[in-house]
C-alpha cells in the first residue's frame, strides 16, 4: 500500500519521532491537565460569584475567619512553592541530596497547610456552619466555603501524595529530573489556585 509523503509524516509524528513543543508527552499532558483543572476552579469561582451577586449581601469575612491565620496559610503555600522550585532546580543540576531535602520541605509545607485548613474547618463547623446553613445569614455562604476550599484541599492532598512518591523514589535513587519537574508543575498549580481563592473568597 502506497502511503505517500503525508502518511510517512503522520507515522513519524505518532511514532514519537517528533515531540510537540519539544517537551515529553508526560510534561505536555500535565500542562493540559492543569489548563482543564484551572477551568474547574474557574467554574467554581464563577458559581460563587453569581451566588454572591444574586444575594446582594454577603457575610463579612473578617467576622467569620481570622484573617491573620488565612494570611499565614497563604504564606505557607507560597513558601512551599519556593521549596518546590528549588527542588526542581536541584534535580536539573543532578544534586540528589538537595532534591531530597527540598521535596521533604515542600511536603512539610503542604502538611502544615492541610493542618491549618483542618483547624479552620473545624472552627467554622464548631460555630455552626454547614453546607446548607450557617450563623452568618446567607445560606449559600457555607456551601461556597466548603466546596471551594474543600476542592482545593483535596488538590493539596493529591499534591502531597505525588510528592511522597517523588521523595520515596528519590531516596531509592530512582527519580528523574523530569519526574520532579512534573510533580512541581502540579504543586505550583495548587499554589496558583489558592492565589485566586484568597483574593476573591477571603479578601473581597
Amino acid at each position: 500500500m502506497n502511503q505517500g509523503a503525508a502518511g510517512q509524516a503522520a507515522e513519524s509524528v505518532w511514532g514519537g519521532g517528533i515531540a510537540p513543543f519539544a517537551t515529553s508527552w508526560q510534561k505536555l499532558m500535565m500542562w493540559i491537565f492543569i489548563v482543564t483543572d484551572a477551568l474547574l476552579f474557574a467554574g467554581l469561582l464563577v458559581g460563587y460569584g453569581v451566588i454572591r451577586v444574586a444575594n446582594g449581601s454577603w457575610p463579612d469575612q473578617a467576622e467569620v475567619f481570622h484573617m491573620n491565620f488565612i494570611a499565614l496559610m497563604t504564606f505557607t503555600l507560597i513558601t512551599s512553592s519556593l521549596f518546590m522550585a528549588s527542588a526542581v532546580g536541584g534535580a536539573q543540576a543532578g544534586r540528589k541530596p538537595h532534591v531530597t531535602l527540598y521535596v521533604w520541605l515542600t511536603i512539610l509545607g503542604g502538611l502544615s497547610f492541610l493542618g491549618m485548613q483542618a483547624y479552620e474547618w473545624s472552627t467554622v463547623i464548631h460555630e455552626g456552619a454547614r453546607l446548607t446553613s450557617n450563623p452568618w445569614g446567607i445560606p449559600q455562604f457555607g456551601a461556597c466555603f466548603f466546596i471551594i476550599t474543600g476542592f482545593h484541599g483535596m488538590h493539596v492532598v493529591t499534591g502531597v501524595t505525588i510528592l511522597l512518591v517523588v521523595a520515596i523514589r528519590s531516596a531509592l535513587g530512582r527519580y528523574s529530573a523530569e519526574g520532579v519537574e512534573i510533580a512541581g508543575l502540579y504543586w505550583h498549580f495548587v499554589d496558583l489556585v489558592w492565589v485566586f481563592i484568597f483574593a476573591f473568597f477571603y479578601l473581597i
Partner: protein, 100 residues
C-alpha cells in the same frame, strides 16, 4: 528545559515579590474602597502573582511559545469568558434586587 534555569536566586526574588503582592492585596482588601475598585485591584494583583508563578516557578518562559499560548489562552481567555457571560446576567439580578 534549557540549562539557564539552574540558579536558585531568582526563586527567592520571585518569592519575595509574591509575599509583597500578598501583603499589598491584604491592605487593599481591608481598605475602604468600592467593590468594583477592590475587585479590579485584586484581579490585577492576583494576575500578577499568577504570572510570576506560571513563568518563573513553572518555567513557562523557557518553553516553546506554542505551549505558552495554549496555557495562557486556555486558562485566561476561557476563564474570562466564563466570568463575563454570567456576570452580565448576575448584574441584572443584582439591579432587580436593588430596585425591588
Amino acid at each position: 528545559m534549557s540549562k539557564d534555569s539552574h540558579g536558585y536566586g531568582i526563586y527567592w526574588v520571585v518569592w519575595g515579590i509574591l509575599l509583597v503582592l500578598t501583603f499589598v492585596m491584604i491592605v487593599i482588601g481591608e481598605a475602604n474602597l468600592g467593590y468594583m475598585m477592590k475587585g479590579a485591584l485584586l484581579l490585577v494583583g492576583a494576575s500578577a502573582k499568577a504570572g510570576l508563578i506560571i513563568f518563573y516557578f513553572m518555567h513557562l518562559r523557557l518553553e516553546k511559545a506554542g505551549l505558552a499560548v495554549i496555557v495562557l489562552v486556555g486558562i485566561f481567555l476561557t476563564g474570562t469568558l466564563m466570568f463575563a457571560l454570567p456576570a452580565y446576567d448576575g448584574s441584572h439580578v443584582f439591579e432587580n434586587l436593588l430596585y425591588r
